[in-house]
């Protein structure tokens, strides 16, 4: 049985989430909190196996709770659950020490799997989230070179192309047209002064753009 701390300032949502979690027979919500302080206290007091924490909460926000927990009870893995889809939050959450990140919207489908995953010591990140992290790492790399002239979307497409994705697959992934993908491709080739996809792959590997 996995004991879980659930912190969300919205009661309805919290109820829904608890139901989702408790539908699974081996997960039990042992504590609930509607603000950051309570969440931290609960975590310290109840010592749950996993803490599921919303970022946006009154008072101490989720990220700070994660940071504190990293200091005071580092053995409790934290899953960040949020309304926000922006990659910036993902990056912040992971940087703060969270082990997983899912949106509330995808909670019915992914919450249980995520809790189980981080409870077993792994990370739970959606594909999007891990990509955001990768990009952030690439961008933060001091040895930037030509990649600095690429936009986020261009980097995304570059990584996909380097790992052998077809234009169609990329179009579906990012919800854009095939033609647009092609436009991106030629733009990247031009910016990096490359000729074809194999050049592109070599470049991506050499510059450690595809390790994640």
């Amino acid at each position: 049985m996995i004991t879980v701390l659930l912190a969300d300032d919205h009661g309805i949502v919290r109820d829904g989430l608890r139901r989702v979690l408790e539908d699974s027979s081996d997960i039990k919500v042992i504590a609930e909190a509607s603000d950051g302080e309570t969440a931290f206290d609960m975590a310290m007091g109840k010592k749950p196996d996993v803490a599921v924490i919303d970022i946006s909460m009154p008072g101490m926000d989720g990220l700070e709770v994660v940071t504190r927990m990293g200091t005071y009870c580092p053995d409790i893995p934290v899953l960040i659950l949020t309304m926000h889809e922006e990659e910036q939050y993902v990056v912040r959450a992971i940087e703060a020490g969270a082990m997983g990140y899912i949106t509330k919207q995808s909670a019915p489908e992914q919450l249980v799997a995520a809790v189980k995953k981080i409870h077993s010591g792994g990370r739970y990140l959606t594909e999007k989230a891990s990509e955001a992290l990768a990009l952030r790492f690439i961008r933060g790399n001091k040895n930037k070179g030509l990649t600095e002239s690429l936009s986020i979307r261009e980097l995304q497409v570059l990584r996909k192309l380097a790992t052998g994705s077809t234009n169609r697959e990329i179009a579906i992934t990012y919800n854009i047209s095939v033609k647009t993908v092609d436009t991106y491709r030629s733009r990247i080739l031009k910016k990096l002064n490359l000729r074809n996809n194999s050049d592109l792959s070599r470049y991506a590997i050499q510059n450690r753009l595809v390790e994640f």
Partner: protein, 707 residues
């Protein structure tokens, strides 16, 4: 005119001096020539006299010899045919051999007994010549010579007589005589064509002459008694002897009856007491003799000198004439200029006056008189200060006059004149001193400018200025008051604007939060339930499960809409994660929606307050929106960097650009908004753009405590 006269006089003087010099030269020359002639004539006369004397003494010895001959003595002692014949033979011999005129023998009574011309018609034989002095002298025992005209022969001759003694030589028996002709003497010795040579006896009878007409004429006028004596002597016949007409004018000049002047020289002849050789030289001839060579020699020289002098005089005269013409021209010009000066002085409508060293007016211009209202006669000679006010007079006499006569110059001296009608006029007087050769100021030339009107105007102007300055001070006060009001109003307006924006943001934030937190959460909860329903109905009621799934999709879509709406209103990331993350999110959102390559770069940026972050975020949002919407850019680079003073946000695109000077009200609205936001944030906005060169919008803000 005077110069011409002077030149003329000089010329005359020059001529006179030349003439005088010439004459003096001529005179001395002539004198020398005359002296020379005199000497010559004297020498000649001496020679002549000597020769004459020699000729006249030629037969003294022969007569002595003749008188010794025995035949003659015999004839005298014993007069018979034989002795007479013998004696005549001797006389013939003598006459022939000595080429005499005649020789003869007289007895002691003076009767001729023998003669060489006894056979001629004028024979002397028998004639008694005892009256002759030569006989009388000889019969006394003395040989004699005598000049006379022969009474018988009527020929002139020289008579030589000598007594004839007896054998013992004691008793005089008779007298032997030789008569020699003087024709030879006259023709050989007395030859001077242009002059007159005379041999004259003591009475002045001309005995020998180179002028035949003058023979036996009296050289000088002789009184009757002497003429009678002369006639009695029968020496030169019986006369009468006419006067030659010569008159002695001075000691050594003689005038001829024709009026000619002769130089007179005379010398006595030996053995002929009181006889004289007279030399009358024609003065004219001598002069001619003098002047001809003089004129021949000196003439051309004198002539050329005269011509040269003439040319010189002419040249000088020409020069003088030219100079005179020039001087006249100059004088004319001077006169004209003087007239012009006078005209200018009098007619120029300026008050001019001149004073002498005592301060008396010596000249005033017409305008001076006109302005002052005096007649000129009332002004000239009066002291200048008579027309001054007392104050001006004191000032002039104590300060200005002494200084002026020292320095000779003054400018803009303020005086007040009193006109004839008693009105006063203000004057600015400038004057300069006219100096004499020694540099002393002798009179002044002064210009008086009537400044009465000007002074009045100036006074008015000053009053007006004062008024104006009062007005302007009032105005300034009002302006500063208004400015303060305006500043206050502007500040109010700015505050209002700030407040409006702030409240707008607040409202947006509220609405966004409401949407996101409330509606979003509710929808999320609904979705959870919908999914739960679907999962629970899937086995038993497939239709319901399907419906639940559709519901779930709808909820998903709605959540997305709400999220978008919320994001547009105000992204939570700005409040939750700060400006940099918000901008990054913004940029990637734009990229997703536009397919434009959007790049974001950032420095590590400090914590900033919410208002500033909002302002910068909105500026970036607007700029990127514009770039995508209007610029047709393919690349947009957004940079959030730091500099020495704070933060710099730049949004750069490679779009079509625009001319910032031509921003219209409508298109420029977004830019205006950005500027206002920058202003309110305490920063400033710079827009750099040109058509075809893209656009760069820079916003710089100061951050407190930075760096």
């Amino acid at each position: 005119m005077r110069l011409r006269l002077i030149i003329l006089i000089l010329a005359v003087f020059a001529f006179l001096s030349a003439s005088t010099g010439g004459w003096l030269y001529y005179y001395s020359y002539r004198k020398a020539v005359f002296q020379n002639a005199e000497t010559q004539s004297e020498a000649r006369l001496k020679l002549l006299t000597d020769q004459l004397s020699t000729y006249l003494s030629e037969h003294i010895k022969p007569i002595k010899a003749l008188a010794q001959i025995r035949e003659l003595k015999q004839a005298l002692l014993n007069q018979n045919l034989e002795t007479i014949f013998q004696a005549n033979q001797i006389l013939d011999l003598f006459t022939r051999s000595l080429e005499l005129d005649v020789s003869y023998l007289m007895d002691k009574d003076g009767v001729t007994i023998c003669s060489s011309n006894r056979n001629q018609h004028d024979s002397f034989v028998g004639h008694d010549f005892s009256f002759r002095p030569y006989f009388q002298t000889a019969v006394q025992g003395q040989p004699a010579t005598y000049l006379a005209l022969g009474t018988t022969s009527m020929k002139r001759g020289v008579y030589y007589s000598h007594p004839v003694y007896d054998r013992e030589g004691e008793k005089i028996l008779g007298v032997a005589v030789i008569k020699s002709s003087i024709e030879f003497i006259e023709t050989t010795l007395f030859s001077a064509p242009e002059h007159i040579l005379l041999f004259v006896d003591p009475y002045g009878v001309i005995f020998i002459s180179n002028q035949p007409a003058l023979r036996f004429k009296l050289l000088w006028e002789l009184d009757e008694a002497k003429q009678e004596q002369l006639a009695n002597s029968r020496q030169f016949g019986n006369g009468p002897w006419g006067w030659s007409g010569f008159q002695r004018t001075t000691n050594n000049t003689v005038k001829s009856p024709e009026g000619k002047t002769f130089l007179f020289t005379s010398l006595p002849v030996a053995n002929y007491p009181d006889w004289q050789v007279v030399f009358l030289r024609n003065k004219k001839a001598i002069e001619k003799q003098v002047s001809q060579p003089f004129i021949r020699g000196i003439g051309p020289a004198v002539l050329s000198i005269s011509i040269l002098a003439g040319i010189l005089v002419f040249f000088l005269y020409q020069q003088a004439a030219k100079e005179i013409t020039q001087r006249k021209e100059a004088e004319k010009k001077l006169r004209m200029s003087e007239e012009r000066y006078r005209d200018i002085y009098h007619k120029t409508p300026i008050m001019l006056h001149s004073i002498d060293t005592r301060g008396r007016i010596i000249r005033v211009s017409d305008h001076w008189v006109d302005v002052m209202g005096f007649a000129r006669s009332e002004v000239i000679g009066r002291h200048l200060t008579d027309f001054f006010t007392l104050e001006s007079k004191t000032y002039a006499l104590s300060t200005i006059f002494p200084e002026f006569f020292k320095t000779g110059f003054f400018k803009d001296v303020p005086y007040t004149y009193i006109k004839k009608d008693g009105n006063k006029i203000d004057i600015l007087l400038s004057c300069y001193g006219v100096r004499d050769e020694t540099g002393q100021v002798v009179r002044s030339l002064a210009v008086s400018v009537d400044v009465t009107e000007k002074n009045r105007t100036q006074k008015d102007l000053e009053i007006a200025k004062e008024k104006l300055s009062r007005y302007s001070q009032d105005l300034e006060k009002q302006v500063s008051r208004r400015t303060a009001q305006l500043e206050k109003a502007q500040s109010n307006l700015q505050n209002l604007s700030k407040n409006i924006i702030a409240s707008q943001e607040r409202e947006k934030e509220q609405v966004a939060r409401e949407l996101h937190d409330h509606l979003g959460q509710v929808l999320t909860a609904l979705r959870i339930d919908a999914v739960w329903l679907k999962n629970h109905l899937a086995e038993n009621m497939a239709v319901a499960a399907d419906r639940a799934e559709k519901m779930s999709f709808l909820i998903d879509k709605t959540i997305q809409d709400v999220r978008d709406m919320s994001y547009r209103l105000r992204p939570r990331v700005l409040d939750d994660l700060g400006l940099a993350d918000a901008l990054e999110s913004l940029v990637s959102d734009f990229e997703k929606r536009s397919n434009v390559s959007c790049i974001f770069r950032q420095d590590q940026i400090p914590e900033i307050d919410k208002t500033l972050a909002t302002g910068l975020y909105r500026i970036g949002q607007e700029a990127v929106t514009n770039a995508i919407r209007h610029a047709a850019a393919t690349t947009i680079v957004v940079k959030l960097l730091t500099d020495d003073h704070g933060m710099v946000l730049t949004v750069e695109d490679n779009g079509r650009g625009f001319d910032p000077a031509k921003i219209t009200r409508q298109t420029g609205f977004g830019l205006k908004g950005m500027m206002e936001r920058a202003n309110l944030a305490g920063g400033w906005l710079d827009i750099t753009s040109a058509p075809g060169c893209g656009t760069c919008i820079t916003c710089k803000v100061r951050v407190k405590g930075f760096p």
